[in-house]
Amino acid sequence: MIEKQVNQKAWFMVLPVFLLVAFSAIIPLMTVVNYAFQDTFGSNQFYWVGLDWFKEIIHSERFHDAFFRQVAFSAIILTIEIPLGVAIALAMPKKGWGVPVCLISMALPLLIPWNVVGTIWQIFARVDIGLLGHTLTQLGINYNYTQDPVAAWITIIVMDVWHWTSLVVLLSYAGLSSIPDVYYQAAKIDGASKISIFRYIQLPKMQRVLLIAVLLRFMDSFMIYTEPFVITGGGPGNSTTFMSIDLVKMAIGQFDLGPAAAMSLLYFLVILLLSWVFYTVMSNIGEESSNGGV
C-alpha cells in the first residue's frame, strides 16, 4: 500500500494569494471596522463615538427601506433567472452546428461591461427616443421609468434578466453536458417520462453547478450598483435606491464615513449569512440526493 505523504511546506504556496487578499480585502475591511466606531471631519482626524453609528443605522428607516428593496430585488431575480436559465439550457441543442451558435449568443450579454449595459437600457427604455419606451407609449401603455416606480423596477429586472440569465444557462448547460448517455438509455428502457428524467437525472446532476449559479447570482444581485445607478440613479424618489447605491450616497455624496462604514459591516454580515445558508442548504441537498438518489 502506498503511504500518503504529508508535507506542510505546501502551505507556503498559498502565501502569495494570502498577501494579495490581505492587501485587497482584509486590510480595507479592518479599516472599515475602525471607521465604524469613529467620526471624522477630514484631515485624517478621528473621534471615538462607540456604537452610535450602529444604533443610528439599525434604527434608520432609510436603511430598512434600502434593505427590503435589496432583498426583494434579489428574490425576484433568483425566482426568474434560475428556472429560466435551466429551461433554456434544456432546450439548447446537444450536438451539431447549433451548439456553438447558441453558446456564443448566450455569452454575448456577459461580455458587455456593466455601465454599458446600463446605458443601453437607459436609452432603450426612454419614452422619447428609446425603441422600447417609445413603442410601448405608442401602443397606449403608460410606461415611463423616470416617473413611475413600477416601470423603473420592471426595467431594472428585465435588464438584469437579459444580462445575467446567460450565466445560469451556460452553467446549467455545462452540468447537462457532463451527464453520460447511459443514464438516458437506462431511463428510456424504464420508459421514464421527460419530467422524471429531469427530476431524477438532470436536476441531481446539475445540483453543483446550480449551487454556484444561485450563489453567484445572489451575491451579484445583492450588491448591484452600476446598472440601476446608470438607468434610474436610484429614482424615481428612492424607489430603486438599493443598499449599494445608498451606501455610496452616504459615503461619497455626504462624506459620512462612520455611518457608511457601519452600514457596510451590516451589509457584509447579511451577505455572509445568506451565502452560508445557501451554500449549506444546497450542498446538503446535493449530498442527500447523491447518497439516496440516482
Binding site: 479592518m30 475602525n34 471607521y35 466606531f37 450602529f54 439599525i58 434604527h59 446538503n284
Partner: protein, 94 residues
C-alpha cells in the same frame, strides 16, 4: 510604515487580535488533532471545528446586532454574555 489612515483604536485592535488568536488556536488544535473532528449535530449535517468557529463568530455578530436593535440603552456586555453561552452551545451540540 504609517498606518494612521487606518484609524486604529485600542478596542478595534483588541477585537482583531482576539480573532487572530482564535485562528492561531484553531491551527494549533488542527495540528495536534488533524481531521477537523467532523460530526453530525443538531443541524443534521456534518460540521467540522472550522464550521463551528464560523457559525459561532457569525451568530455572535448577529446576537450583538439584534441586541442593539431591541435594547439600545442596555449595556452590550449582556449581548456578549449571551454570545458566549451561544458559542458554548454551538461547540457542544452543532
Amino acid at each position: 510604515m504609517n498606518l494612521s489612515w487606518m484609524a486604529w483604536t485600542l478596542p478595534t485592535a483588541i477585537f482583531f487580535i482576539t480573532i487572530f488568536c482564535i485562528l492561531v488556536t484553531m491551527t494549533i488544535w488542527e495540528y495536534k488533532s488533524p481531521g477537523g473532528d467532523p460530526r453530525v449535530g443538531v443541524l443534521r449535517f456534518e460540521t467540522t471545528r472550522g464550521d463551528r468557529v464560523f457559525v459561532s463568530l457569525l451568530g455572535s455578530a448577529f446576537i450583538h446586532i439584534i441586541w442593539l436593535a431591541l435594547f439600545p440603552s442596555i449595556s452590550l456586555w449582556c449581548a456578549f454574555a449571551i454570545a458566549l453561552i451561544y458559542v458554548c452551545a454551538v461547540f457542544k451540540w452543532v
